[in-house]
């Protein structure tokens, strides 16, 4: 059990003006940092399970010295990098390996080396909004198709979408639709609770919620939980106009489309950033994209992009920085649950804020997986040619989760949760769902079932 974050001293919580990192090393120049020491190779979960990926050192700092525009490299091997960033975190010298690989993949796309069929497939699975926008309104039908083995086999043969890969069902109602529908009622409740229970919370505090595509189309319950927690902290939650963060496009080498996506988000979000309103997201990959990946990979270094990046927070990171968070009355949840920190979450380089947040819930025991990656890496594991690799990468994690013997697993990132469910048969929830439940929010879905069961058992 890990309980490494304790109640902070409030004076340590300065909320000064955002500052930039003291230096910025451009991606390609970072290869000069490499001392060839091979540590990245020991960290790479993909090279560990397949020969198709020659490893982070080979692809990035090594291959990088031989790449220039208009030449017949890179080859497809770089496409087997899942972008999990384990190499970046292990590298003692600061080579931006994952970023170099993402750029090399973009070169593949630019050079027309990705066959048209696979590029179509990549664009289909990378455009989560397009998929969600089309399929969610007809959720029952879409879900039936996704669950149909024949349809999935056809998709594998024609498009190369792995037939066995797990697609979550579309939600009946979008998150934003729910948010609009309930805004009045929530405002009233907030006004009431401010007067009654929570004098500490100031009503003027605002936060912009970046829900991401998964919450919007698949798991609106997670958004509801997040809103509940934020409102319990006394925040007025704004859901700004937003679109996909562009990460799936970035990791498929579709930089032009990703740039458009990020530019649109920046345009909409920067007005909040300018007012000092934090932008908070529950999807750790979306927030990392806003913070760093998009600006870095797309060379967007303008002021607006920077402001958005500097004002974006991962949900748990944000909670830990709120003095009021430590005063929230959390009810016990007497469960022992396995927790997996997604690779993209480690990429924030913040340690493990989710564990710190969950440590607030009495009686809840969290066992950390310390696994490198679940394997799915966004869209990676959905591809026919990479499905087996993704499953092999996830194997140690699956083993760990199964060994805990809990009714569910906890994980911050959507595709990782789905991959965990696919690999272990166990449902997976976001930490915020547990926190909301502990704060008295009506629980939904699998968590509701587990907690109800637990309750019944206790009574019996």
């Amino acid at each position: 059990m890990i309980e490494n974050i304790e109640t902070p001293e409030k004076q340590a919580m300065d909320a000064d003006q955002p500052v930039s990192q003291p230096f910025h090393l451009p991606v390609e120049l970072s290869l000069d940092q490499c001392i060839k020491c091979n540590i990245c190779i020991t960290a790479c979960p993909v090279a560990a399970v397949t020969d198709l990926f020659p490893g982070p050192k080979y692809e990035a700092p090594q291959g990088g010295r031989f790449r220039m525009p208009g030449q017949p490299t890179p080859d497809h091997s770089v496409d087997y990098c899942s972008g999990c960033r384990a190499c970046n975190l292990a590298c003692p010298t600061g080579v931006k390996i994952a970023e170099m690989n993402a750029r090399a993949r973009h070169t593949l796309v630019e050079q027309g080396k990705v066959p048209a069929r696979l590029r179509l497939r990549n664009n289909l699975i990378a455009r989560t909004e397009l998929l969600g926008g089309l399929a969610q309104p007809i959720a029952p039908l879409s879900n039936a198709v996704l669950a149909n083995p024949l349809a999935r086999k056809a998709a594998e043969v024609t498009l190369g979408i792995a037939a066995k890969a797990y697609f979550p069902p579309f939600a009946r109602e979008r998150f934003t639709a729910w948010f609009k529908k309930t805004s009045k009622a929530r405002a009233q409740r907030a006004a009431h609770s401010n007067e009654a229970d929570c004098p500490a919370a100031s009503p003027q505090k605002q936060v912009a919620f970046f829900h991401g595509c998964a919450t919007e189309y698949y798991e609106p319950r997670l958004g509801r939980a997040a809103i509940f927690v934020l409102e319990a902290l006394g925040f007025e939650v704004i859901v700004p106009r937003q679109n996909c963060c562009g990460l799936p496009l970035l990791s498929n080498g579709e930089f032009d489309a990703a740039r458009q996506a990020h530019q649109r988000n920046v345009k909409s979000l920067v007005e909040f950033a300018r007012q000092g309103i934090p932008i908070v997201g529950t999807s750790t990959s979306c927030t990392l994209t806003l913070k760093e990946e998009a600006p870095e990979l797309l060379d967007m270094h303008d002021e607006a992009t920077r402001l958005v990046a500097e004002n974006t927070y991962d949900f748990n990171e944000f909670l830990l920085l709120q003095p009021t968070f430590y005063e929230l009355p959390c009810a016990p949840i007497p469960l022992t649950l396995p927790y997996h920190q997604p690779c993209q979450y480690r990429g924030h380089r913040l340690g493990n804020p989710a564990v710190g947040v969950l440590a607030r819930i009495p009686a809840l025991t969290i066992l950390e997986s310390h696994a490198t990656c679940c394997g799915i890496a966004g869209t990676y594991g959905y591809k026919k040619e990479k499905y087996e690799i993704a499953q092999a990468v996830g194997e140690p994690l699956f083993e760990f989760i199964k060994s805990v013997g809990a009714p569910l697993a906890v994980c911050d990132s959507e595709t990782c949760r789905w991959q965990i469910t696919h690999g272990t048969g166990l449902p997976a929830v976001h930490p915020v769902e547990l926190l909301a439940a502990s704060l008295g929010s009506p629980t939904e879905g699998v968590l509701a079932k587990v907690l109800r069961l637990r309750h019944t058992r206790q009574e019996a």
Binding site: P22, K36, I41, T42, F66, Q71, N88, R349
Partner: protein, 976 residues
């Protein structure tokens, strides 16, 4: 004495000599070429690799410009595989006279050099790093040329026409008789025997050395060698040749050459072509001029510097002996000095080498009374036999090697990873018999020319060399070749050793000293074919302009802070992990932040406490306890002197207990060092070794079988066994065929591939099966240290029961599987007790308190904004120069980054390192480190320094792990 008779003898294996040899052979002469070292050993191997368009000389020397463009066109046609068609820019920076452009354009026009002007945006689109303040940019047909490949192509062509080239044949003197040169007496350096070569005509094409050759026959040829120094940037920062738009001068060319960019050059007369230094002011000049072309140039990583000597001829006699063209010199000594049978050709540029050869051979024909037409411009030069596909039909390109590796899926077959030289490349270079040193392989295959400068490939190349070289070398000869090559690489990095390259060299030192113990292998420290060092700097002093100290970045204001902890440990090596482990065990809240992983992954995975003392000693320490007692008396500031022997013993015992608890016992004690074999076959003194290694102890003389796997390029059992034999241990080697082992039919076999396989029983059975017939007298079997990551004991015992022999591991090149195990054990112990480990979190600054006596916060780098950490104690365990805790700059500053601690080091950068890589006293810079009091406290009351961050050369002492563990343990306990 060996005697060779020929028609024409050519002296000098550079561009001119090899060009002449081909021309002679094509015109039907019997010809022999001698070169004192390898081909291109002289100036040809040390120029910046520029095929001139002639534009550089358009104003200064129109005749040379015309010659260049003519030859440029011919060379592109006849040797496309040696030319990379980069094109060239002439850029007008704010420092260049705008009036020059007009003269430049007129000159190019008159010489017939095509010029095209580019707009600034067009230029920056092609070369984004160029100075945006460039006002004009002209494109010309400059190109990058491979002087090594071209010389080889010329010699190969000549050989096809029946000529002979003899490298490592040094001319002792010209043979003269009655006013006529009749050949030369040479020394065959490889076989160390004299060879007399008789010829009707001798062509002295020895470049800057023609004067020395002439002098042996009493002829005065006044050569003023003009030294030019160049530096190479770690990667191609430009893909076009960049020239400054001005009269040719120093430091005004930047050439993309293969994987690097070469900045050059200086021009300085030196008295002797064999005796010159690379001066610091020359390096400074390159940096300053480079900065004008590419802003930020100064901060880039430089791989090495080198200098060549241009042969500048000064006529001392009058008469019609000088050739009409001013760009080179052809002397007919019969006319000039009354000495028949000798021509001298010198000066000139690489670009015009073919023309120089043609004119020389024309003259030779005249001398021999025959008329034969030159055809060298008509025929293409042969490309080297190679399995590289597709064979380049066009000019060679940067991406060619990568494309080949990708096409052949040869990812797992790289010997020199930096330059992508494959095993078959190296084998070919060895097997064709022309490679007499590892350095010859480098010239053929670019071995060791990349960022690590031989750090990883030297052992591999030596391993292959030992197995394949004909006649089979003695172990001692291979050891000398290995040391020679490390020294050859070292001499070139010396002038640019700061920053990341110094860090690289410290890693190389760790590999070759700590892991391989190369400095204690049997055999001479160098071979007769060793490379000459440059002279030490100071021979051509010229005050370099000073450079302002780059001010350290003020730490950014905190915007967010993680909740405070008791101790923040900075660094994830053995010292930091140990301190964190002790503190969490005592119930403290600990956060360990680390940029990445470190020394555990590089070392041997043992605990070296003290291997050699004093470090110059050849004799390994038997009892660390006794030696430490002496050290503590003699070096009171040493970390060991600040601890009692009891404390050090406790630290070791506690760590042993931890490892034993994790099922990975470490054996040994302070009373006695183990002597364990290294992957080079040396004896390595170490204090604690894992159970998987101790059966290799060399105080036991039981016969060994050393086992390797084909395709695993980090371990050469033949070399290990040969060296062990040499030192009196009966040892044999076997190389198992990986393709025949179930599970190992892999495209890429590295230490981790093998380690994962050894965890599986079926694989172990397959290995045991394959070994049964090789066991013979062997009582113990040495494997590379790859017997599993998680449960190596099980793998070892499994093999032992299958084979009925003792099994041991031999650690080798990084990554270190045994080191990974120790790392894993410590990290898990910390996490189990509630400690927090944050990876990828580089500490970038700190906030001192107002009175300056304490630290209040430390920042780490994180996505979008830094993260502040508040702790009661800050423990600096970020290592030394290798770990990244200490940084160095070109101007000689040595700094500690997080707290700005004062680091005592030699003031002058020239005193940082020795001129010998393996110098027994070690390099002074690596003794630098943080100063602390007896409790490891720094100038700040709540900041402590540990392990590699402390002052002392723990790599040379072989005390790296001991110091880390002892200081980490002591501090952890003291603060708890």
């Amino acid at each position: 004495m060996k005697i060779i008779d020929t028609e024409i003898l050519v002296i000098g294996g550079g561009a001119t000599g090899t060009g002449i040899l081909r021309d002679l052979a094509m015109r039907g002469f019997r010809a022999v070429l001698v070169e004192k070292r390898d081909l291109t050993h002289g100036t040809t191997g040390r120029f910046h690799g520029l095929l001139h368009s002639g534009a550089r000389y358009a104003v200064k020397d129109p005749a040379a410009a015309r010659e260049c463009i003519e030859e440029n066109r011919i060379l592109r046609r006849i040797m496309p595989h040696c030319i990379e068609d980069t094109g060239g820019f002439f850029v007008q920076t704010p420092w260049d006279d705008p009036a020059y452009a007009k003269r430049f354009l007129r000159g190019c026009h008159e010489a017939g050099i095509p010029v095209e002007e580019l707009s600034a945006p067009q230029m920056l689109a092609r070369e984004p790093l160029l100075n945006p303040n460039v006002t004009r940019c002209f494109h010309v047909p400059d190109a990058a040329a491979d002087g090594f490949a071209a010389a080889h192509a010329n010699v190969n062509a000549a050989r096809q026409y029946g000529a002979q080239a003899l490298p490592y044949h040094e001319v002792t003197r010209l043979l003269t008789d009655t006013g006529r040169v009749q050949g030369a007496l040479c020394q065959d350096l490889v076989h160390d025997e004299p060879v007399a070569i008789h010829a009707d005509l001798v062509i002295n094409a020895a470049g800057a050395w023609v004067g020395k050759i002439g002098a042996t026959a009493g002829v005065e040829i006044a050569i003023r060698p003009g030294k030019g120094t160049m530096i190479a940037v770690n990667h191609r920062i430009v893909n076009t040749v960049i020239n400054r738009l001005k009269m040719p001068s120093d430091g005004d060319i930047l050439v993309p050459a293969h994987t690097v960019a070469v900045m050059g050059t200086t021009d300085l007369q030196v008295p002797d072509p064999d005796q010159f230094a690379i001066e610091p002011w020359e390096i400074e000049l390159m940096l300053a001029e480079g900065e004008k072309i590419i802003p930020g140039f100064r901060q880039m990583r430089f791989l090495r510097a080198w200098a060549g000597v241009r042969p500048l001829y000064q006529e001392t006699k009058t008469g019609p002996s000088r050739d009409i063209t001013r760009s080179f010199v052809l002397l007919d000594h019969e006319q000039r000095d009354g000495l028949a049978g000798l021509l001298t050709i010198t000066s000139g540029k690489w670009t015009t080498y073919r023309k120089m050869a043609a004119v020389t051979v024309d003259k030779a024909c005249e001398k021999l009374g025959t008329r034969r037409e030159c055809r060298t411009h008509l025929e293409r030069l042969p490309q080297p036999d190679s399995d590289r596909t597709p064979a380049p039909r066009r000019h060679h390109t940067l991406g060619e090697r990568l494309a080949h590796v990708e096409h052949a899926q040869a990812y797992g077959d790289l010997i020199c990873e930096c330059e992508l030289a494959t095993r078959s490349d190296i084998e070919q270079a060895i097997a064709n018999g022309q490679a007499h040193t590892l350095d010859d392989i480098r010239r053929d295959m670019r071995l060791g020319m990349g960022p690590c400068q031989g750090g990883f490939c030297t052992l591999r190349a030596a391993g292959l060399w030992h197995c394949l070289k004909e006649p089979s070398p003695e172990a001692q000869a291979t050891n000398a070749a290995l040391r020679d090559f490390l020294q050859e690489r070292w001499k070139g990095v010396l002038p640019v050793l700061w920053g990341q390259q110094l860090r690289q060299e410290r890693l190389n030192e760790l590999i070759y000293l700590n892991v391989l113990n190369l400095d204690h292998l049997p055999g001479p420290t160098a071979s007769p074919l060793r490379p000459e060092n440059y002279l030490p700097p100071g021979h051509n002093p010229q005050p370099g302009e000073g450079q302002p100290t780059p001010a350290s970045q003020p730490p950014p204001a905190a915007i967010r802070r993680l909740p405070p902890v008791d101790a923040l440990v900075i660094g994830g090596g053995l010292a930091g992990l140990t301190a964190a482990w002790r503190l969490v065990c005592r119930g403290h809240k600990v956060r360990l932040v680390t940029k990445g992983w470190g020394a555990t992954h590089w070392g041997a995975g043992c605990i070296d406490v003290l291997g050699y003392y004093p470090i110059e000693s050849h004799q390994a320490i038997e009892s660390p306890l006794l030696a430490m007692a002496r050290l503590a008396l003699e070096q009171p500031a040493h970390p060991y002197a600040r601890l009692s022997m009891k404390q050090i013993g406790e630290a070791l015992r506690a760590f042993q207990e931890l490892c034993a608890g994790a099922g990975y016992p470490l054996h040994g004690s302070l009373e006695r060092n183990w002597l364990l074999p290294t992957a080079a076959g040396a004896f390595r003194p170490t204090c604690l070794a894992p159970e998987t290694m101790i059966a290799g102890d060399l105080t036991d003389k039981a016969p060994m079988l050393i086992v390797g796997f084909s395709g695993y390029h980090d371990f050469y059992p033949q070399l290990v066994a040969a060296n062990l034999q040499e030192q009196g241990i009966p040892a044999r080697a076997v190389l198992l065929d990986s393709a025949a082992l179930a599970g190992l039919q892999r495209r890429r076999i590295d230490a981790l591939t093998l380690a994962r396989l050894f965890e599986q029983a079926p694989f172990r059975s397959a290995v045991a099966q394959a070994l049964l017939s090789h066991l013979d007298q062997a009582e113990r079997l040495g494997f590379p240290a790859v017997l599993g990551l998680r449960d190596p004991l099980r793998a070892m015992r499994g093999l032992e029961s299958l084979l009925g022999r003792r099994i041991f591991e031999i650690p080798g090149l990084p990554p270190s599987v045994p080191g990974l195990r120790l790392h894993q054990i410590l990290v898990e112990a910390i996490q189990k007790s509630g400690g927090q480990v944050i990876e990828g979190a580089e500490a970038i600054g700190s906030q001192p308190s107002q009175n300056g006596r304490q630290i209040e916060a430390v920042w780490t780098e994180a996505a979008a904004r830094p993260l502040a950490h508040v702790a009661r104690h800050y423990i600096l365990a970020s290592g030394g120069f290798l770990g990244g805790g200490l940084m160095t700059s070109a101007t000689g500053e040595v700094g500690e980054r997080v707290f700005g601690l004062d680091i005592q080091s030699p003031q002058n950068r020239l005193e940082w390192v020795q001129r010998q890589f393996l110098h027994p006293s070690g390099h002074p810079i690596f003794r630098a480190g943080a100063q602390t009091d007896a409790q490891f406290r720094t100038v700040y009351e709540n900041v402590y320094a540990l392990g590699g961050a402390l002052a002392g050369d723990f790599v040379r002492e072989r005390s790296l792990e001991g110091v880390a563990l002892a200081s980490g343990f002591y501090l952890g306990e003291a603060l708890a």
